[in-house]
Structures are given as structure tokens and as C-alpha cells.
């Protein structure tokens, strides 16, 4: 079955580097997408791709079936739900993980 796996919660402290891991079992998926979601608001794409990449404080590592989102210098305001998703090279359907709720202690 096509699935995406990520931890349900991650806890951190302000200023640390947070890593959220994701892996999948989708045979024709080569690209990862990391979304930030504050409940009640629109999910926002942070970083995507089929190779390691960086957007501001967000880094994405890449392996064929796994990726990690690294958040540098994490802040209390980063506390939210982070979704990992994968997509094949054709069509646009995203397959999402369950979401990881990040908590940040001051």
C-alpha cells in the first residue's frame, strides 16, 4: 500500500536544530514535499524536491525513500504541524503523512 510515515510528535527547545524524519513506500514517487500547517490556515509549502535543498531556515535531506526536514534555530512560533508528502513524476496527487506536531519550549 502507498503510505508515507512520519513521527506524530517532536519536541524541541528554542534555538536548537529540529529534525523531522519521513519515509515512504510509494513505488513511483521521487519527490518530497514539506508543508507547514497552522490549523485553520492554509498549509504552506516550505521546501520540495528530489535532491537536498534549502529555503531559509528549512533544509531538506534526500534519499530515494526518505527525507528529513531540518529547521534551524527553531523558535516558539515554529510550533505547528509539519506534513511530509510525496508525488510521482506524473500527475499531481500528493500522498501525505499523518503530520508531525512540533512543540518548542522557550
Amino acid at each position: 500500500k502507498d503510505q508515507v510515515f512520519q513521527p506524530s510528535t517532536v519536541a524541541s527547545s528554542e534555538g536548537a536544530v529540529v529534525e523531522i524524519f519521513c519515509n515512504h513506500s510509494v513505488s513511483n514517487a521521487y519527490n518530497f514535499f514539506w508543508y507547514l500547517h497552522f490549523p485553520g490556515c492554509a498549509p504552506r509549502l516550505l521546501v520540495k524536491g528530489s535532491k537536498p535543498s534549502q529555503q531559509g531556515r528549512y533544509n531538506m535531506t534526500y534519499e530515494r525513500f526518505s527525507s528529513s526536514l531540518l529547521i534551524l534555530q527553531v523558535r516558539e512560533a515554529d510550533a505547528a504541524v509539519y506534513y511530509c508528502a510525496v508525488c510521482g513524476n506524473q500527475g499531481g496527487k500528493l500522498i501525505f503523512g499523518q503530520g508531525t506536531e512540533l512543540s518548542v519550549k522557550p
Binding site: 519527490n31 498549509p43 528530489s50 508528502a85 500527475g91 499531481g92 501525505f96 503523512g97
Partner: protein, 116 residues
Amino acid sequence: GAGVSQSPSNKVTEKGKDVELRCDPISGHTALYWYRQSLGQGLEFLIYFQGNSAPDKSGLPSDRFSAERTGGSVSTLTIQRTQQEDSAVYLCASSLEDRGAADTQYFGPGTRLTVL
């Protein structure tokens, strides 16, 4: 420019009633997607449109669910004879085309549906 908008933002209905949820994609985006987030669950794909046609309806959970898109723009998701398990946040996204990873999907804020 305006992002993806959805209406209503909240909808409370009684079991057995029909509901319509609306999505206005970003202007010029040809691909439109519907996802659902049930309580404690991740985002679940429902259906996507390329223009007015729906190449992939594989995520629709039952024949009570249908969607249409007219004029290559606005889309309506209809749920007939709603059940309590239909309660969820329904999210719409659009992208320039449907080239998969090449086109970022931009999400709307969602419609929270509660079926009593």
C-alpha cells in the same frame, strides 16, 4: 495576488442532508485538488481536476461524494446524505499545471464540516 479561497469556512449540517463546498483556485491555475483531513488523520487525497476533467477520482470515499469544475476555474465538492464520518476539514489546492513535482500546490484555508 489572491490565493486559493474556500467557502464556507465552517459548515454544520444534520446527518442525511446534502452539502456543497466551494473552491476558487488561483487565477490561471489549471490543476485543482481536493483533500480531506479527518480528526487525528493526515491529509487524504480525494480528487483532482485538469481543466474541467477529473483524471483521478480514486480518493473519493463513496458514491455520495462528487465534484465538478466549470470554466476551468471554480470547483464544487458535493456530499450527499451526509454521515457523521464525513466530518472533517476539506482542503482545496491549485497548481499551474499537473506536472507533479514541477508545480507547487497552493492550499486554501479549508472548510470545516461538522455533521451532527
